[in-house]
Amino acid sequence: MSVLVYVEIAKGKVKKASLEAVNYATQIATQLGTSATAIAFNADAAQTEETGKAGAKKVLVIKGDQYKTNDAVYLTAAIEQAAKAEGAKVIITSFDVTGKALAPRLSAKLKAGLVAGAVDYPVVNGNTLEVKKNVFSGKATAIYSINSDVKIISLLPNSFPVKLTDNKAEVADFAVDLNGITSKIVIKETKSTDTAGMIPLPEAELVVSAGRGLKGPENWGIIEDLAKAIGATTACSRPVADMHWRPHHEHVGQTGIAIRPNLYIAIGISGAIQHLAGVNGSKTIVVINTDKEAPFFKSADYGIIGDAFEVIPKLTAAIKKLKANN
């Protein structure tokens, strides 16, 4: 019996969300008196070493071209076989794009109860695990009890710290039988929305976001300058994406992407409930708005009532000064 954790590799590295998952799996394994086994597809030595540093006792490397597109049909088949071979009772993934397709499919295959988007470590209660997750779009939390024999937990990204140690994992190849398993999905085209030098929004710890208060797409220079000074990723509100001032993938909020960075700076965004639903998990929120009645101030840690066009360049300069002195 062990705790199994799915590790995803992107751009040659173990994803941060996966390191969070390995840490989490290691913690549960300690609670259950067992160890964490990671599954990494087509991983090289550096990647398995990184997985070991995050706490895995063993890394199972599964090789094959079918896994290269993260198609949940193949990933699920492989993890299902590994879970059975390892006698795993708990399986951990991230609640990221791959995890949102993988964990439910695995849940159906193994008849394993799933808590999707956990925000805390589980409590062991007899044969059940009790896990906290956000509900009502962040307005509340619920404690779920997983009652099934095999249990799956997917983790809300950026909710757990990543601790690396000098732990070395035992690495072993794991052979999977994909006989009879075929995905009908054919990839026609993949378009990257990555902006050079910027961390993708779901993983970003620092985010600078702007809304209609900026008055037009031509004014985004000050936002980009501030983001660059902080080392942040840029985001925007829904109206801004709808008016095509900014690309669709920058839209955060209920209908866009939900994020929970360490710092969220909202500039010229009033803070409609739908926007808050996507950002209220942020650890520190700064709101800059000319309207002192903007509802967003009620959900902010720090606020400046003022004109973005005056405040932002000063803020950028002040941050550059801080960075230069540190």
Binding site: A72, V73, A108, L114, T141, A142, L263, G303, V311
Partner: protein, 247 residues
Amino acid sequence: MKILVAISNVPDTTTKITFSDGDTKFNTAGVQFIINPYDEWYALVRALELKEAGKATTVTLFHVGLVDSEATIRKGLALGADDAVRVNAESPDSFFVAEQIAKFAKEKAYDLILVGKETINYNGSSVGGMIGGLLDYSFISLATKLELNGNTATVEHDIDGGVQVVECATPLVISCSKGMAEQRIPNMRGIMAARTKPITVIEATTDAPLTSIKSFALSAGRTTCKYVDANNVDELVSLLHNEAKVI
């Protein structure tokens, strides 16, 4: 091409959330319920557009819930769905819902099953993937565009750091996200027609639920906003650096 659209009955986005029975149940008193926005604006409306374009023959709504959710189902019918099926049960978790949908979709040979990318009450994003697993159908998540050409679906969907265009033969499960379609408002003709459209009520297949909710708690709000003078941005930088320790 028969399309099944799974709809969930959820509290309106602006609802003030409270709990009852010692914080073990969501308090529905005085709450306005709506069709889960992702199920309605994106999944259902796109299904209707495909039917109008002659690419699909029927659009059936599927809902798991007690009789009080029929007002929500009628709204879906008013928008233009042909008929509806209601499983007469309170859903304990995503897996239970997925099982009901999977069983019905297989029996009635639906080609395409559309779900919203998540519900705004339990935010699980799980039902679509579970149906895929239960039926061994392919599942495409976070779709922003959907076209049908005979029995082949062409789907654009969000992936990490980009978008991908994929093709897949039916049967197929797709979770729908922003971009699929625009919100519609039912017209008077639709509302009148909905009154006589059939809602078939079926009983649930029951197994012990895999998960259950033990308790709820409201999220801690932020205490108070600390205001900084617009002419003193250095103070904000200092607070972010020394107090919040985020830069």
